[in-house]
């Protein structure tokens, strides 16, 4: 049976993929070198592809909810005024920031190359572990998306780890910048492991993942790469930002949505 928790769980996954994918896509045409411009654009497309599969599923789940339950899920006027059944597009383009469940890490700005790499590095290490766990989800759709996405995530992790090592164990300048980025983005990593209501309910139902377990594996993986990169790892018990999973976002998300949703808001239902 469909529940709000199941829907919110899928949305967490979808929103992470969409928002990070959008952020990364901002590099298109601005990469430091043509080959890396293509590499990072490929990654953005991978994230968008994952987001699409997940939004299609989320729309299906939303449409199966009884009307009164649907009313409890979102409060974005544009989405609620949209009378047709929910679709992947209405979920992406008609919800306002407070209805997005992505973690704050994914919406942080690109900064320099090191900041972009640090954000991806933290995220990719998490998604490899998460998708590995979700491959065995009792929810067949989640399991299928996880299996397909895992291969992409493995390559993303390889790419971002490689850059952390290159810049960390590179020149004085590259090391300083990479270290700075690792420190600056660290406070956004804690939220990856916070158990939201949806996370708890799905773990109990055998469809979600145990984020406490993933956290310990994540810390070990990150420590290994940072040590190879001769970089300092910030303390695991540092103070962490939270809020994304419950819709309390940083200022960045509003700007992302303004740009991403503009066309569909100005010309509803437009296609090309």
């Amino acid at each position: 049976m469909t529940s709000i928790h199941q829907l919110n769980y899928v949305l967490q996954l979808a929103d992470n993929a969409l928002i990070l994918g959008h952020r990364i896509s901002e590099w298109t045409g601005h990469g430091p070198i043509l080959e890396q411009d293509i590499a990072i654009t490929n990654t953005a497309l991978d994230h968008l592809g994952q987001a699409r599969s997940l939004y299609q599923y989320a729309a299906e789940l939303y449409n199966m909810l009884p009307a009164e339950t649907q009313g409890e899920v979102f409060s974005s006027p544009a989405f609620l005024n949209h009378t047709q059944p929910a679709t992947e597009d209405s979920l992406a383009y008609l919800r306002d920031a407070w209805d997005f469940r992505n973690v704050l890490l994914t919406e942080q700005d690109n900064g320099d190359w090191a900041y972009t790499i640090a954000r991806s590095f933290f995220y990719d290490n998490h998604s490899v572990l998460l998708y590995t766990a979700l491959k065995d989800s009792k929810d067949a759709t989640i399991a299928a998306v996880a299996e397909k996405s895992l291969k992409e995530a493995l390559y993303h992790r390889r790419w971002s780890s490689e850059w952390v090592i290159r810049l960390g164990d590179g020149t004085e300048e590259s090391k300083a910048r990479m270290q700075d980025a690792i420190h600056a983005r660290w406070e956004y990593t804690g939220e990856l492991f916070d158990m939201s209501e949806a996370d708890k309910a799905m773990l109990e139902a055998g469809t979600g993942a145990d984020l406490a377990l993933i956290k310990s594996q994540w810390l070990a993986q990150v420590a290994e790469v940072l040590s190879e990169a001769t970089l300092e790892m910030p303390p695991a018990d540092a103070w962490m930002q939270t809020g994304g999973k419950t819709g309390q976002h940083s200022e960045h998300l509003g700007y992302i949505l303004a740009e991403m949703q503009y066309m569909q808001r100005a010309y509803p239902g437009m296609e090309w």
Binding site: L34, E35, Q36, I38, A39, N42, Y155, R158, R166
Partner: protein, 94 residues
């Protein structure tokens, strides 16, 4: 100071059992990055299952001016073609 990353020649094998074919070149700081860049630049439309990268400076080429003496003498040596053999049908890529 030269800020350009070294150039690499990229060879892709499109299927197991076939040979690697030259597909183009790209810039990378070392072999590991050359292979990753090649994956992103040259295999994004399922072009291959294996990548070779060779730094371009290690490729030695024949001189086009020598083409006459190098290749023309083969023109009238038809007996060098193995056209007298019947190939098994299973052999698809000769």
């Amino acid at each position: 100071m030269n800020n350009e990353w070294p150039l690499w020649e990229i060879f892709i094998r499109s299927k197991t059992g076939l040979d690697h074919k030259h597909v183009g070149s790209l810039h990378a700081v070392d072999a590991a990055m050359a292979i990753e860049n090649a994956r992103d630049v040259y295999t994004r439309r399922m072009e291959g299952v294996s990548i070779w990268a060779v730094e371009s400076k290690y490729i030695h080429a024949s001189n086009p001016d020598d083409a006459g003496e190098l290749y023309d003498p083969a023109n009238d040596k038809v007996y060098r073609h193995p056209t007298f053999y019947e190939l098994p049908i299973e052999l698809k890529h000769m």
